[in-house]
């Protein structure tokens, strides 16, 4: 297989397989989790303004009082790489073009120099949180193979994408093919690893907020 055939495969059958596993995986996992249901709360509710599941879904995006100081790397590093990923994934013009071709949806892209910068900052933030995971006793203690693995499969698409655009190391075609392959790997593992928090965090925050909303505690 030469590099052009490789690119053709990852753009064609490879992408189809990955997107297929991703979509079915997400649906299956969501069903597997939320079909377990829960019991109705029979205690009398106490209403308070600002206390509900929806409130918590939004409010948990901000650090609670005192926490930023206790773990600045987690919060600041976390914000930067999540926002950075969003900019790179949804703001880069060629990505939007791909989505337009697949679904017909379209939105304006961001200047490529800005996306470039965002990619570099994202990678830097990811390296910082990785070092923090190695250095901080609690994080190291909690970490399993999955934590290192999911970091890698999240980092690779950013790195290969950036290298492809910068024409670094390998010919553009090969690097682009590797980039797409790394995204496919990410799509395949996302539903079955902790990366699935991208979906379940909304449910989790809502459940937590719902229980507290029932008690009239705005969290």
């Amino acid at each position: 297989m030469n590099e052009l055939q490789f690119l053709t495969w990852v753009r064609g059958p490879g992408l189809d397989i990955a997107v297929g596993i991703f979509l079915l995986g997400v649906l299956w996992r969501l069903f597997e989790i939320y079909s377990l249901g829960r019991k109705k709360d029979l205690s009398a509710p106490r209403h308070a303004s600002g206390a509900s599941g929806v409130h918590t879904v939004f409010r948990r995006s901000l650090p609670p009082p005192g926490m930023l100081k206790r773990s600045p790397v987690s919060y600041i590093g976390g914000y930067i790489f999540h926002i950075g990923l969003a900019i790179v994934v949804f703001g880069f013009a060629p990505h939007i073009l791909l989505v337009t071709n697949l679904t017909g949806l379209s939105w304006p892209g961001l200047p490529s120099q800005f996306v470039d910068l965002a990619a570099v900052v994202t990678m830097a933030a990811m390296v910082v949180v990785l070092v923090d995971r190695i250095n901080k006793p609690v994080k190291r203690f909690l970490s399993t193979f999955e934590d290192w693995f999911t970091w890698t499969v999240t980092f690779l698409p950013v790195l290969t994408g950036w290298m492809a655009v910068q024409h670094l190391l390998l010919p553009y075609t090969t690097m682009l093919a590797l980039h797409i392959l790394s995204v496919e790997l990410l799509l395949v593992v996302l539903p079955f690893t902790k990366l699935f928090h991208a979906f379940t965090l909304f449910g989790s925050r809502w459940y937590n907020g719902r229980v507290n909303g029932h008690k009239g505690v705005p969290v």
């Binding site: 939320y34 079909s35 829960r38 205690s43 976390g78 925050r205 459940y207 907020g209 008690k215 505690v217």
Partner: protein, 430 residues
């Protein structure tokens, strides 16, 4: 696999629901919950990270309720939960967790970790891995009626004392009273001033109230150990008493877990909504204050601070009332750092104070409270939970800090004039 372990695993399978599944799938191992837990912040030992305390429950979830987990189990790639492991986890699930809920308040993905610890305890208890101290408290509550072996005659003796001291009758089994007042054994044995304070306050407010001879004990060690069957037996006594006496409201005493057990878990334990309301004494005092039924005179002038019981504030939503009440009788009321919703636990909630072998760790964790107190240097410390009070007193004594602790209800009552005008004190229809 032993029969008790089998039972424990079966119970764990039963308690796993969609929220727990969602929580385990959302955890990204960020470790922020550790920063919220006083057992980690004061020891620096990563094993006290709240989410880690749930590892056996997580594995049962993965092995039983996920496709990949079941596959891994089939081909022998996953490690089954063992008796030895649960034994090791006892310290993490009981001694070093007071169900204070700070972890649930900070988790960025929204995991209600303490909800899971509460459920995990059901399996720990069923598999025989609960600490002896709490087991004893539960047994005494179920058989005698009180975790401290307090029986009705002891309550009656105290009623008599209070009647003599205050000249106010203490109604027992008065049908149709508006309020049924509950006590905790700790108050009956160690803090008799609580009952006198309630009598004085009710007398001034002109409210009808009663104690109940078949249900005076409000604490529920069944909740703390994690045995819903026993918790149900204990709570049913209160429900029967309240329904027999046809009271409108049952008042939970100054005890955090009694409040949670009755207010939030009670109806779910008996499987139907209550026919009466449940309020913490501080909520009732707050209402009296708003309605102008709480007339006090004079002020405390020394520096006072307030320790929020976790189950009342963070887990119970009662946060403003205690502050308004403090300000009614204190000129120099100061707040500790993190006071209110994010207050730090005394270190003895959730049954932890009943665990003898956990004492050393508890005192270590108390350094957090010491730091909070050092920041404001109060003359006295006020709280609204008899268990917090005992644990605080022990900790203060250990660290040689001369700060007396008192209950808020008692503090308020001290400012009610003796000759308070009395409205109708008889039960309706009596």
């Amino acid at each position: 696999m032993s029969a008790t372990l089998e039972k424990g695993i079966r119970v764990l399978k039963e308690v796993i629901d969609a929220p727990i599944a969602s929580y385990f799938n959302s955890c990204v191992h960020c470790g922020l919950c550790a920063e919220a837990c006083l057992f980690y912040t004061e020891t620096g030992d990563p094993k006290y990270t709240p989410i880690h305390k749930l590892e056996p429950l997580r594995r049962v979830y993965e092995q039983e309720y996920t496709l990949l987990g079941r596959l891994k189990k089939m081909v022998g790639l996953s490690k089954a939960v063992t008796d030895g492991e649960l034994d090791q986890w006892q310290e993490l699930v009981y001694n070093s967790c007071t169900l204070c809920g700070r972890c649930s308040a900070v988790c960025p993905v929204g995991n209600d970790i303490v909800y899971m610890v509460r459920k995990f305890r059901e399996g720990m208890s069923a598999s025989g891995h609960a600490p002896e101290g709490i087991k004893g408290a539960v047994n005494r509550t179920v058989t005698v009626g009180s975790p401290m072996n307090v029986k009705l005659p002891a309550v009656q003796a105290q009623m008599k004392h209070v009647e003599e001291d205050y000249g106010i009758p203490i109604p027992l089994d008065a049908e149709g009273a508006e309020y049924m007042v509950m006590l905790s054994s700790m108050e009956i044995m160690n803090f008799p001033e609580y009952l006198g304070a309630v009598a004085k306050i009710m007398h001034q407010a002109g409210k009808t109230w009663t104690l109940c001879s078949t249900a005076f004990e409000a604490t529920n060690a069944g909740i703390q150990i994690g045995n819903s069957d026993l918790a149900k037996v204990i709570v049913s006594r209160i429900v029967e008493g309240a329904e027999k006496l046809k009271v409108k409201t049952v008042i939970s005493p100054e005890c955090g877990h009694a409040y949670t057990a009755l207010r939030w878990e009670g109806a779910n334990l008996i499987g139907r909504p209550f026919t009466f309301e449940v309020k913490h004494i501080i909520e009732v005092l707050g209402e009296f204050q708003e309605q102008g039924l709480l007339k006090t005179e004079g002020f405390e002038t020394d520096k006072l601070t307030f320790h929020d019981p976790c189950q009342l504030a963070r887990r119970g939503g009662v946060i403003k009332q205690q502050r308004n009440l403090m300000n009614q009788v204190a000129k120099n009321f100061v707040e500790m750092p993190d006071a209110g919703y994010m207050n730090w636990c005394c270190g003895g909630g959730g049954g932890a104070s009943a665990i003898e072998e956990g004492e050393e760790l508890r005192l270590e964790a108390f350094k957090k409270k010491r730091a909070q107190l050092d920041a404001v240097k109060p003359d006295r410390l006020v709280t609204a939970c008899a268990n917090c009070r005992i644990v605080l007193e022990e900790g203060l004594e250990h660290y040689q800090m001369d700060i007396p602790v008192m209950g808020l209800t008692e503090l308020i009552a001290e400012h009610i004039p003796e000759s308070a005008p009395q409205a109708a004190a008889k039960p309706e229809g009596a």
